[in-house]
């Protein structure tokens, strides 16, 4: 099966001379449709740097970031912005919902900006799958933390993105809710055949992942079986 996303020999260096930081060194990574991939690593290891490069928010110092075969690094900032809008779904730490839009308006906004009709049926299906009934007219601040992240998942899945990037999506949740959110992400990947990358520093959350990458001091390695994570620490 073809890779949805592939990073080839990606390095990212901040600064220069003896103060230079190699946030990523020679990273290789791949993910396919229907896979749920976790990236785990301690603070400062380069997880966020990886995610911003995968999202095309910044360009690598060297290497290739291939999304369905096109190299993001060669695209203009404007093209990358449009690419994110059209093909990438995001789930950020403390919910990326817009505080002054109701749940259904979060979806309507996307359609407005895409100059197309509101895909109400698609939204309904996603919200139902995520057990978010009768919340259409609620504002984000009226939702619980778990509900908010589930709406964020629904929003990330809206319009069939090629890939979903989740940046510590459980950071603001207690452990029961964290497991629930991760379980749902895993089943979305499997049931809807989506590629989902989750970045986390919490080892308990990675057990259901299809693939786990461990990152340490900018160096990334694929863990063949998940137990090695435990033995590593």
């Amino acid at each position: 099966m073809a890779n949805v996303m592939e990073l080839v020999n990606v390095s990212k260096r901040f600064g220069s001379g003896h103060t230079a930081v190699n946030a990523l060194s020679d990273v290789n990574f791949e993910i396919q449709q229907g896979q749920f991939v976790s990236i785990i690593g301690p603070s400062g290891s380069g997880k966020s740097t990886f995610l911003t490069i995968a999202a095309g928010l910044q360009t690598p110092t060297s290497g290739k970031v291939l999304l369905n075969g096109t190299d993001l690094a060669t695209q203009s900032e404007k093209q990358r912005l449009q690419y994110r809008f059209d093909h990438v779904g995001f789930i950020l730490q403390s919910s990326n919902l817009i505080p002054y839009l109701t749940v259904s308006e979060q979806f309507k906004l996307i359609d407005r900006l895409a100059h197309q009709k509101f895909q109400e049926k698609e939204m309904r299906q996603l919200l139902d799958r995520l057990d978010l009934k009768n919340l259409d007219d609620a504002y984000p601040n009226a939702l619980s933390g778990g509900e908010r992240q589930r709406v964020a998942i629904a929003k990330a899945l809206y319009h069939e993105p090629d890939i979903i990037l989740a940046d510590e999506p459980t950071a603001s949740l207690d452990s029961t809710r964290s497991f629930d959110v991760v379980d749902r992400l895993v089943s979305e990947a499997h049931d809807l055949n989506k590629a989902i990358i989750m970045v986390t520093h919490d080892e308990r959350l990675i057990t259901k992942s299809d693939v786990v990458y461990q990152i340490d001091d900018g160096k990334m390695q694929k863990l063949e079986n998940k137990e090695t994570v435990e033995s590593h620490n």
Partner: protein, 354 residues
């Protein structure tokens, strides 16, 4: 657009307060415009009604008609169609048998001169000691057939006709022939010929000689030099322009502060592929909506004030001009909101992922 409008709905109080401030600014702009218009009209309405093109004054008068002394034979130096002598006096009128004094501008010109107003009731000035009065003087209780006195002069004048609203030097006008006005200005001393006048008003004309030390002024130049006229207008207009700058600054600062507050949200939007253009559009939409609403409310209130303003208050609404001011206020607000453009453009989406 959508984003901006939805935010205004969510943050009603915040945006209504700013709209309220904008209403006040718009109101002050429109009221000042009304006052400037009223004062302008009070000074020049009679001059506008002449529909003249050039005014001849004594060169030594420094363009001030009250300082300009000429005699009727100065017209010999002016060649052209529709040439009218004019004398004027600022005085008070009093009905005989009444103590009620009204400030007026008395204008003297030949009975058949082109600047003599067309009467709408009664008849024209035909003889000495006859006067015709403006509608606004009529509104203050003087009627056709009344006998009046001007200033401290004893001459009894008869009101024989009236014409529409007309003011000069912030006072209602009355017209009479040159001999009558000369008699009143001379106040007892015998009147000599040729009669003294202040200016020659013409349509198309040229100087054909200059025995009388004349200076030809285009009518606009003459109006700008009416006593007090440009000082008043400049003062009021400067205030109006200053208010445009103020509304730009207020909207600009307010939207800038809101933008700073929302930087992290805007960062998230950029992560999701919603770029500077859309974010700025939402900010501009908000400024446009607020300014359109506040300008509309300001206009309504101003029109209301215009309708109930007491007759003595110089207040005149010039709708095309109000329209221009309304559009300027809206443009100033939109321009103000564009000041946030750099800040929005500089927000780096990378900061949204930590």
């Amino acid at each position: 657009m959508y984003l901006g409008l939805k935010e205004m709905r969510y943050e009603k109080l915040r945006y209504s307060l700013l709209t309220g401030v904008m209403v006040l600014i718009a109101l002050v702009v429109f009221i000042l415009a009304g006052l400037a218009g009223g004062l302008s009209q009070g000074n020049r309405l009679a001059v506008d009604q002449w529909q003249a093109k050039y005014v001849y004054l004594n060169k030594d008068a420094n363009k001030n008609i009250m300082a300009s002394q000429l005699t009727t034979d100065a017209t010999n130096d002016v060649k052209g169609k529709q040439v009218a002598n004019i004398a004027l006096d600022s005085t008070v009128v009093r009905k005989i048998g009444s103590n009620n004094k009204i400030d007026i501008s008395a204008l003297g010109t030949a009975n058949n001169s082109f600047i003599m107003p067309k009467v709408t009731s009664g008849h024209k000035v035909q003889r000495d000691n006859q006067i015709i009065i403006s509608q606004n003087l009529k509104d203050q209780g003087i009627k056709i057939g009344d006998k009046v006195r001007l200033g401290s002069n004893d001459t009894k004048l008869t009101v024989v006709g009236s014409y529409g609203k007309s003011t000069y030097s912030i006072a209602p006008t009355m017209y009479m022939n040159l001999a009558t006005l000369a008699k009143i200005k001379a106040a007892g001393t015998p009147v000599t010929k040729p009669l003294g006048i202040n200016a020659i008003i013409t349509k198309d004309s040229q100087l054909s000689g200059n025995k009388h030390n004349l200076q030809r002024l285009p009518i606009n130049d003459f109006i700008q030099n009416l006593p007090g006229y440009s000082a008043e207008q400049t003062t009021l207009n400067t205030m109006i322009y200053f208010l445009f700058a103020m509304s730009l600054a207020i909207i600009g600062i307010f939207m800038y502060v809101l933008t700073l507050q929302k930087q992290s949200l805007f960062g998230v939007l950029k992560v999701e592929g919603i770029g500077t253009r859309h974010i700025l559009a939402s900010v501009v939409t908000q400024a446009a909506v607020m300014s359109v609403i506040s300008v509309a409310i300001g206009l309504l209130i101003t029109i209301g004030i215009g309708a109930i303003a007491p007759t003595g208050m110089p207040f005149a609404l010039n709708y095309p001009q109000l329209g221009i001011y309304a559009i300027s206020l809206i443009l100033a607000s939109i321009l103000g909101s564009l000041l946030s453009w750099r800040t929005i453009a500089k927000i780096n989406p990378v900061t949204a992922i930590k």
